[in-house]
Amino acid sequence: MKKLINAPEAVLDEALAGIAAAHPELKVDAENKVIARADGTRTGKVALISGGGSGHEPLHGGFVGLGMLDAACPGEVFTSPVPGQMLSAAQAVNGGAGVLFIVKNYTGDVLNFQMAAELAAEEGITVETVLVDDDVAVQDSTWTAGRRGTGATVFVEKIAGALAEKGADLAGVAEMGKRVNAASRSFAVALTSCTTPASGKPGFDLPEDEMEVGVGIHGEPGRAREKLRPAKEIVATALDAILADQPLAAGDETIVLVNGLGGTPLIELYVVFNEVAAALADKGIVIARNLVGNYVTSLDMAGVSITVCKADADMLSLWDAPVNTPALRWGA
């Protein structure tokens, strides 16, 4: 393992201290491990809280700020946070209009947020939850834990966050989050495994000429291992899976995320985006907005995920609304 760390067990605490030092616009509660906006939540505004294992930066702490999250709860690396963290976050940022939990569909995240929602309700805080499960690589059936939540999390946080900023009520913000999730599909391919600081070695071995198809956002292997192919063919595989699940017609408008998993240079992500743009253009599908970069990473994993959201006019308008966070900023 070759990492810029001091000690594996100190990584999260020291990274949080670094975030606090780098971003005075954020308030980091080191004890409870909560990252919140320094200026707090406006009274009457619905508060958005998300969280999950660390190692996916900028998710979620990098999306705390105007127009997106009010707070983020980072767990240990690839381990969901604990209910006490989310409760502390809810108490810290509740503006009186209730709290929306944005939860990626991983068993640990779901169980811990569920417990936190019960604890918050006991404290008199109204909580709604949006479960993000956009990953089409996983069969949504009784035979698995259900689809994983991946890249669409950024879309849900941005669009629901913008609606909350406009003053919508909790039910409305939650409904929009669910709509964005329902309209989004993702697919990912890994070229290497990643190495968690605690284990010190790659989560799986992947030969130089092979790729792992259909990975989530952790070190966990995907659904199949195949020979590495050119970007054009990888994109075709991903888009086939996405469009088989969410058919899009000519003229449909989309928001597309081409997301690096942490170990892939931007030049390769642009190669991928070029293929995505060409493939969708062939079908007459419009990329109305896009993001290309590292937004939902898996530590040092090389690879890419592609997320396509079939966006309506409301979503596009909310997408364009001002946002001011460490990792996403425009119009503000």
Partner: protein, 213 residues
Amino acid sequence: MNGDSVDTDLARTWVQAIAAAVDKHKDHLTQLDSAIGDADHGVNMKRGFSAVTTALADYKPDTVGAVLVKTGTTLISSVGGASGPLYGGAFRAMGKALDAPTADTQQFATALAAGLESVQKLGAAAPGDKTMIDAYAPALAAFQQHVGAGADFAAAALAAADAAEEGMRATTPMQARKGRASYLGARSIGHQDPGATSTALIFRALAEVVATR
């Protein structure tokens, strides 16, 4: 304390023995988890049970249940992942069923059943899904069967530990249907489940502390 009951000291010794076992086997748990999960089970369990050891150090419980509730609450607030709520909820459920200074084998069997019920309710998994339930359910059944046949605590706990380990080994050929391993589909076959493995450690620890008191 007679030979056929559990008191607060024994409950504490049990939990400390689990902590020692988890520490000893943490690399093995992580290695099993890296095959079909995300390689953090050993680390998470160690963090949780270290916190439990600290929490119990100066704790003066009145009941057996209080030890276990404290254990569960500490696990929930320190483990994270799915294991935190599942194990934490199980220990809390066991503890709530033992609201007395001592517990006999029959009461302990009832508590173990409450723990399993909590896991099943929260995780929505069934036997055969390749989870901790595949070790827990046979362990409980063996414990109940031995208690029903008039066995003493040590014999029942030993039977439970053996059954848990057998259940743990039986997860190897299963295809995972819950948790992160489920995403692997058929590729999860051939790997022993880390959760079933840590559950087997918990029952083995019980058998050992009861046998050596």
